[in-house]
Symmetry: C2
Subunit: 535 residues, 2 copies
C-alpha cells in the first residue's frame, strides 16, 4: 500500500491545513517518511458531520451485512501482510513476534464482535405484552431495545499500535454497536494507523456503507483531541492512555452543553500478592515469571505488575533474592518513544530516591538509547502505606516488591490503593483462608482478580473485564476488552403500543433477526419466544 | 406510628444539630407538626460510614433473604395504613385516590425487584471455561459477575412522595442491587418520609441486616445534598428533581477525587404529535384526553405533555377549539408547594408574553391560593423553532399547542428539541408513512415513544424506559423506572482461574443460586448450563 500522509475523512484523503509531523523510529532515533499533514479544528467537522450523516443508515443495518463488514476489516488487515508488521516495528520498536500476536488479537476481536452482532443479545430486546384485561388499569404493549449512542471518538494508544488503536477494541466495539467512528491516530505510529485505516475504508466501500462510518484523523495531540470530544456530533469517547490526558478528556466531556460518556482506560499498578504456600514450591520459577511479566514489551502494558507483596522472613527473602537474580539477567528493550523512556527514567529516579526504598535488582541498558535497564525496587508495607509516591505508576519495566507481615497488612495496603485494573494472588491450598480475607477488599479496588497467573495477557472473550474503579478507568461500570465492551455504546429506548409497521425490525412479532427476547422478565430463545409474542 | 422529627441513621433516631423545619400544608398554608431537626455535615458521616460498613455483608446477601427484605418493606408500608395517605395528602395537596395508587405502585415496585433478586439475571454471570489445549496459548478459566457499586445517595422528589421518594424506584433498585442507601428526604414531605423510613428500618431489623443498610436524613436542602454527593463513601447518586439541582449534583460528582455516576431525572416537555388521520375521529375525546394528561396531579408529573403539535388548517383548528373548551372546564388543583406554584406562575407569564404565543384556553383558579388556573397556550412551528423560551418546561398544568404544516416541520422542530423522556404520536393507519419519517429523529431525542396514548402513567415493568438524552436525564444509558434500573448500581468484576473455594456463590460450578449463565457467549438456563460448566 502507498502511504498518503493524510487523514482519511469519510473515505477521502484530506490534506491537513496545519503543520506536518513524522513517524519516528525509537530504535534508530530517525524520522520515518512520509510526512503526515495535521488537520485543523475547521477540518474536524468534516469528519464529525459525516459520522452524524452515516448514523441513520449504519445504526439500522441488518445483522448479516453488519457482521460481514467487521469480518471484511479483519480480512483486509491480514491482507496487508508483512508491510504492517514492518512499519509497526519501525514506529514502536516492538519485535515482530509481539506485533504478529497483536495483529491476530485485533482480527480475532473483530470476528468475535461479528459473532456478537449476528447473535444479537446486545440489542437487549425486552417485551412486556399488552394486558388489556388487567385491573384497575390495562397494560399497554411495551417493547425495549438498545440503540447505538451515535458517533464515537476513539483515541489510539501508544503501546498497542494495533489492538488498542485504529481497528482496536474501542473501534471494534463501537462499530459493532452501530456507532460511526472518528479515530484520532496516535502520533507515535501514523503509518501503522494509515495502513489499518485504509483497510477499514476499503471495507466500508465494499459493504456499500455510508462513507462517514469511519474517519481517521491526524492532528496536533491535545488540541484536536479536546475539539473532537467537544464536538456536538460526538456522543461517546473511547480512550487508552495516560491519566492526565484521560482526565482532561473527562473534564471536557462533562463541561459540554450535553455531557457525554468517556471511557478512558488510564493507569494501573496491578498488585500481585504472594502468600506463604506459593513460596514452598519453585521460588526461582515464580521469580522468573514475575520478572518476565514486568519486562515483557518493555513493561509497556496496562497490566504490567507494578507491585508485588511478599511476606517478611525467610521465604520472602528467598523470593527477593531470586527476583534480583532474574532481573539482573535482563537487558532493556527499546521503548515506544523517547518521551516514554524519559518518563520512565524520571519515575524510576523518584521511586529509587524515596525513603525506605532499595534496589532489589537491576538489569542492563539495552541496545539503544531508549532501552533503560529493567529495575525492581523494594520497600516495607509501612513505607508503602505512608507514602503516596510509592503508588505512582512507572510505565515501563519497573516494579516494587513490598514486604508484609500479615493479611491485615495486605488489607490495609489494599484499602490505600487507588482503583486498579487487576490484582493477582500467588497461593496454594493452605493460603485459601488468608486469601479469602483479602478478596472482599480487592473486589472494591479492581476489575479482575487472578489466581496463580499474571495480569499480562488479557484474554478477549465474553467474561473478560479490562476495567476497574477510577483512576484505572473513568467508568468502573464498563470494560474496554471483551464482548461486554459493546454495552458502552448503547442506550435503551422503549416503544409503547407501536403498530407492527412502525416497530424496528428487532422488536417485531415476526422476529426477523431471530433474537433472544426477554418476555415479561424471562429470556426466551428466538424459536420459543415467537409463539408467546404472537399469541 | 409516632413521628420523632429526627433523622433515622443506621436504625437510630438522631437529633440534628442544625436548625429545625416543618412540613407544610399547601392547601391551608399551615405548618405541620412535629418540627424536624436538620443534621449538619459532621453528622452526615455517621450515615455514610455506617453504609460503608454495611456493604460487605449486604452486597453478599443470599437471594432469598435479600428478596424477603424487599417484600418486608412493601408489607410494612402497607401496614402503616391510612395514616400514610393522610399525612402525604396534608404535605402535598394530592388527593387520596392518587396517593393510594402511588402507594400500590411503590409496593408493587419493591415486590417486582424482589422477583428480580430471586431470578438473578442482573448478576450478569458469564463463564468462559478454561481451554488448556488451545494453541498457541491455553485459555484460563474466566468468570464474570456484576457486583454492587457501594453505598448510594438517593434524593426524594417533591412530586411523588411515595413512588420517587424514601422507598421509591431509586431506593428499591439500589437495595435490590445490594447497595446500602443513604436517603435525603425532600423537605416538602418530611412526615411521609419518616413513616416510610421507619417501615424500612423495621425491615432491616427484622431481616437481621447491618443497620447501615438504610439511613434517612433531614438536612438543609442544597448544602447537605452536595456534602452527601461529595462524601468518599458514596459510590453513586439517584435523583429526581429540577435541572438546576440535578446539574449541580453532576458537577459535584464529576469534581470528586474519585468521580461517581449520577442518575438524575430532571425535566421533559414530552411532545405529542397529532397527525391528520387522528383528527378524522372523535376530536373532542382526543382534546379531553390531552387536557386530562396536562392537568392530572396539577400537571406535576415528569411525563406531563408540555407540547402538542397539531396540523395547520381546518382539522387542527377543530382540535384547538376542542382543547380550549376542555381546559376552560377545568379548575386548578393545589400544587405541591408554594414555591412550585410560584414557579408555575412565572413560567406561564414568560410563555404567555413571548412573541407569537396566544392563549388557546384557560381554566379557573382552584380552591386555594396555590391552585393556579390550567392554561393551554398556542403558537406556530416557526416561532417554536426560533425561540428557545418556548422550550422551557413549565412544571404544572400548562402546555403549548404548536401548529405545523408538514412532516418536515416536525423533523425540524424535533431536531431543535433537547433530550426528552417521551414523545407521543396520535395517528391512524393513513399516517404510518408520515410517522415513519419522523421516528428516526424522535429516537435521537427521547427514551420512550408512545402511539395513541399519553406519556403519563409510567408502567413499572421490564421493558419500560423512564430516561432519555440530556437534559431529560444525566445519563441516557439508563432508566429510573422498571427492572433495568438495577443496572445503574452494578459493575463487572472478572475472576480468572479462582479455585471453587474462593469463588463467590454466583460463580461456583455448583450454581447454588440457580442462575442463568452466559457460557462462552451463549446464555444457558440454570439447569442446562450446570453440566457444561462441570464437564
Amino acid at each position: 500500500m502507498t502511504l498518503t500522509g493524510h487523514s482519511l475523512i469519510a473515505g477521502q484523503p484530506v490534506v491537513g491545513s496545519g503543520r506536518t509531523a513524522f513517524g519516528f523510529n525509537p530504535a534508530t532515533n530517525e524520522s520515518l517518511e512520509p510526512a503526515y499533514t495535521l488537520i485543523t479544528e475547521d477540518q474536524l467537522t468534516t469528519a464529525t458531520s459525516a459520522a452524524a450523516a452515516a448514523y441513520p443508515s449504519f445504526s439500522a443495518l441488518d445483522p448479516e451485512t453488519h457482521a460481514g463488514f467487521l469480518e471484511a476489516i479483519a480480512g483486509n488487515i491480514e491482507a496487508i501482510g508483512d508491510e504492517l508488521i514492518i512499519r509497526a516495528g519501525q514506529e514502536t520498536g516492538l519485535p515482530a513476534a509481539r506485533l504478529q500476536g497483536e495483529r491476530a488479537r485485533t482480527t480475532g476481536q473483530l470476528r468475535l464482535f461479528a459473532n456478537v452482532v449476528r447473535q444479537g443479545d446486545f440489542r437487549g430486546v425486552r417485551i412486556d405484552p399488552a394486558l388489556p384485561e388487567r385491573t384497575p388499569l390495562p397494560r399497554a404493549d411495551i417493547r425495549q431495545r438498545q440503540i447505538p449512542l451515535g458517533p464515537v471518538a476513539v483515541f489510539g494508544a501508544s503501546n498497542f499500535p494495533l489492538a488498542f488503536s485504529t481497528a482496536g477494541g474501542d473501534t471494534a466495539s463501537a462499530l459493532a454497536a452501530g456507532c460511526p467512528v472518528v479515530f484520532k491516530a496516535h502520533n507515535a505510529h501514523p503509518g501503522t494507523s494509515e495502513l489499518v485505516g485504509q483497510a477499514i475504508v476499503q471495507a466500508v466501500k465494499d459493504a456499500g456503507l455510508h462513507p462517514g462510518v469511519f474517519s481517521l484523523i491526524y492532528g496536533p495531540g491535545a488540541s484536536i483531541g479536546q475539539a473532537l470530544v467537544a464536538d456536538p456530533a460526538i456522543k461517546a469517547v473511547g480512550f487508552t492512555g495516560s491519566q492526565n490526558a484521560g482526565i482532561a478528556l473527562m473534564r471536557t466531556a462533562a463541561a459540554r452543553p450535553e455531557p457525554i460518556p468517556v471511557y478512558a482506560e488510564m493507569s494501573s499498578l496491578n498488585p500481585v500478592f504472594v502468600f506463604d504456600g506459593a513460596l514452598k514450591g519453585d521460588v526461582d520459577a515464580l521469580a522468573q515469571q514475575y520478572v518476565t511479566a514486568v519486562t515483557g514489551s518493555s513493561g509497556q502494558l496496562c497490566t504490567s505488575p507494578g507491585l508485588l507483596f511478599a511476606p517478611e522472613g525467610e521465604l520472602g527473602d528467598k523470593l527477593a533474592a531470586a527476583v534480583g537474580r532474574a532481573v539482573s539477567a535482563c537487558a532493556g528493550q527499546t521503548m515506544l518513544t523517547e518521551g516514554i523512556a524519559g518518563s520512565w527514567n524520571a519515575g524510576a529516579e523518584a521511586l529509587g530516591s524515596a525513603d525506605g526504598v532499595t534496589v532489589v535488582g537491576q538489569g542492563t541498558q539495552g541496545p539503544t538509547k531508549n532501552a533503560p535497564a529493567p529495575t525492581i525496587f523494594g520497600t516495607g508495607v509501612k513505607e508503602f502505606v505512608a507514602n503516596h509516591v510509592l503508588h505512582q505508576e512507572i510505565f515501563g519495566a519497573a516494579s516494587l516488591v513490598i514486604r508484609y507481615g500479615s493479611v491485615q497488612d495486605l488489607i490495609a495496603a489494599t484499602n490505600r490503593l487507588e482503583g486498579q485494573l487487576t490484582a493477582s494472588l500467588q497461593l496454594t491450598e493452605e493460603d485459601f483462608p488468608t486469601a479469602a480475607q483479602l478478596l472482599p477488599a480487592l473486589e472494591q479496588k479492581v476489575g479482575r482478580i487472578i489466581v496463580n497467573g499474571w495480569p499480562t495477557g488479557v484474554e478477549v472473550g465474553h467474561a473478560m473485564v479490562h476495567g476497574g474503579p477510577f483512576p484505572a478507568t473513568s467508568d468502573t461500570r464498563t470494560t474496554s476488552v471483551g464482548t461486554l465492551a459493546i454495552n458502552r455504546f448503547l442506550r435503551p429506548v422503549a416503544y409503547q403500543n407501536l403498530p407492527q409497521e412502525l416497530l424496528p425490525a428487532a422488536l417485531r412479532d415476526t422476529n426477523p433477526w431471530q433474537l433472544n427476547r426477554r418476555i415479561d422478565g424471562t429470556v426466551e430463545a428466538a424459536a420459543d419466544a415467537k409463539d408467546k409474542v404472537n399469541a
